[in-house]
């Protein structure tokens, strides 16, 4: 009986670790007023551009100081909420500077009540990784990658909700 019980526990633990996708280990976790953001260097961050499962990921590169980025954020938030049941997930990748994370990024997430996952890419040697995100990317933000296990598209542009929805629909079908 004891054996059966421990086997059951083991089985349950396995299930948990299989269903709950674990993110890679961050460089650092920034926390303030109940808001937390994990930081990654590019090498570790690449995981978020290459997840192969049933979900379609919308990875948006932005920063709190980038006006067109902030203007289009509500469209990504709306997409994240409305397409949850269709297995679409938005990841907002902040390009803020590390000294701005506690002063700008965390208060911004709280103030705007952002529901999408926000991570902080802390890798100032951008020349070493910009082309790994996409060959055509000049480095200007906002920029967005939409991908799933069978398709990947890159956009160096701003999005209206309609344009974003159209692109996502073309990829999830």
């Amino acid at each position: 009986m004891k054996l059966l019980f421990s086997l059951l526990i083991l089985f349950l633990m396995n299930c948990v670790s299989l269903t709950a996708q674990t993110d890679p280990k961050p460089l650092k976790v920034y926390s303030k007023d109940g808001i937390s953001v994990k930081s990654y260097d590019y090498k570790t961050f690449e995981y978020f551009l290459n997840q192969k499962n049933d979900t379609t990921y919308v990875v948006n590169f932005w920063a709190t100081w980038c006006k067109p980025c902030v203007e289009e954020l509500p469209n990504f938030e709306k997409l994240n909420a409305e397409y949850k049941s269709k297995k679409v997930k938005v990841i907002l990748v902040s390009m803020d500077m590390s000294k701005q994370v506690e002063t700008s990024l965390l208060p911004f997430i709280k103030r705007k009540n952002l529901q999408s996952k926000v991570i902080f890419l802390n890798d100032p040697d951008a020349n070493s990784w910009i082309e790994k995100v996409d060959k055509s990317w000049s480095g200007a933000i906002p920029a967005t990658v939409i991908y799933n296990k069978s398709q990947r598209k890159f956009y160096e542009q701003s999005f209206t909700f309609e344009a974003l929805e159209k692109e996502v629909q073309s990829i999830i079908q």
Partner: protein, 202 residues
């Protein structure tokens, strides 16, 4: 018939250009860069041809508002201090349309240049006509030019160095290395780099 050919050529050109990736336009290393006549913060017009003694130019598309541009201001001043006397002055150009980004108005450019004590011209790309010819997409974005018989030849395009955030942690000073190579008549090792920056608002 001739008219038709021109029309057909125009159609083909339009189709071709419609399929070109926007970031692929603009100058590449080896191209000849256009001169310009743009208004400096002292209200005088500046052209590259005014610099009779220069060997070339460090053209930097930059602006007032962008945190990346701000992070590089002191490094741009240092570049001018070091290289103007060696024949490669900095020419800074604000490509942004102040109607889209009010912090980048001409008046605020004048203010910023005074505050920071810019030793180089800080020009306003009125009507946003020059930056698309260069192909600048963000600030800061550097084009290193060398005077040649053909004109001002593009020798390097990209970032100032490899760490916008922390000058002390910089490992590769791309622009300095490129200018040094030109001065020493050597081949530039890294001719093109990419950096994160604020997209230009036209």
């Amino acid at each position: 018939m001739k008219k038709f050919q021109i029309f057909a050529a125009a159609v083909v050109l339009t189709i071709v250009s419609a399929f070109t990736i926007p970031t692929a336009t603009g100058y590449k290393v080896g191209d000849i860069a256009t001169d310009f006549s743009l208004k400096n913060v002292n209200n005088k017009m500046v052209s590259l041809k005014d610099y009779k003694d220069a060997k070339g130019f460090i053209v930097v598309f930059t602006c007032n508002h962008c945190p990346f541009a701000k992070a590089y201001e002191d490094r741009i001043i240092a570049l001018d201090k070091k290289y103007a006397k060696l024949g490669y002055p900095v020419i800074a150009i604000n490509p942004n349309n102040p109607e889209k980004q009010k912090e980048d108005s001409f008046a605020l450019m004048q203010e910023r240049a005074k505050e920071k004590g810019f030793t180089f011209p800080y020009l306003f790309d009125e009507g946003q006509k020059i930056y698309p010819q260069y192909g600048a997409t963000k600030t800061p974005h550097v084009y290193l030019l060398q005077k040649t018989a053909k004109g001002n030849e593009v020798k390097y395009v990209g970032a100032i160095d490899d760490n916008y955030e922390d000058e002390a942690a910089v490992k590769q000073k791309y622009v300095e290395n490129a200018v040094n190579s030109l001065l020493e008549k050597k081949e530039i090792a890294v001719k093109e780099t990419k950096a994160i920056g604020c997209s230009i608002k036209a």
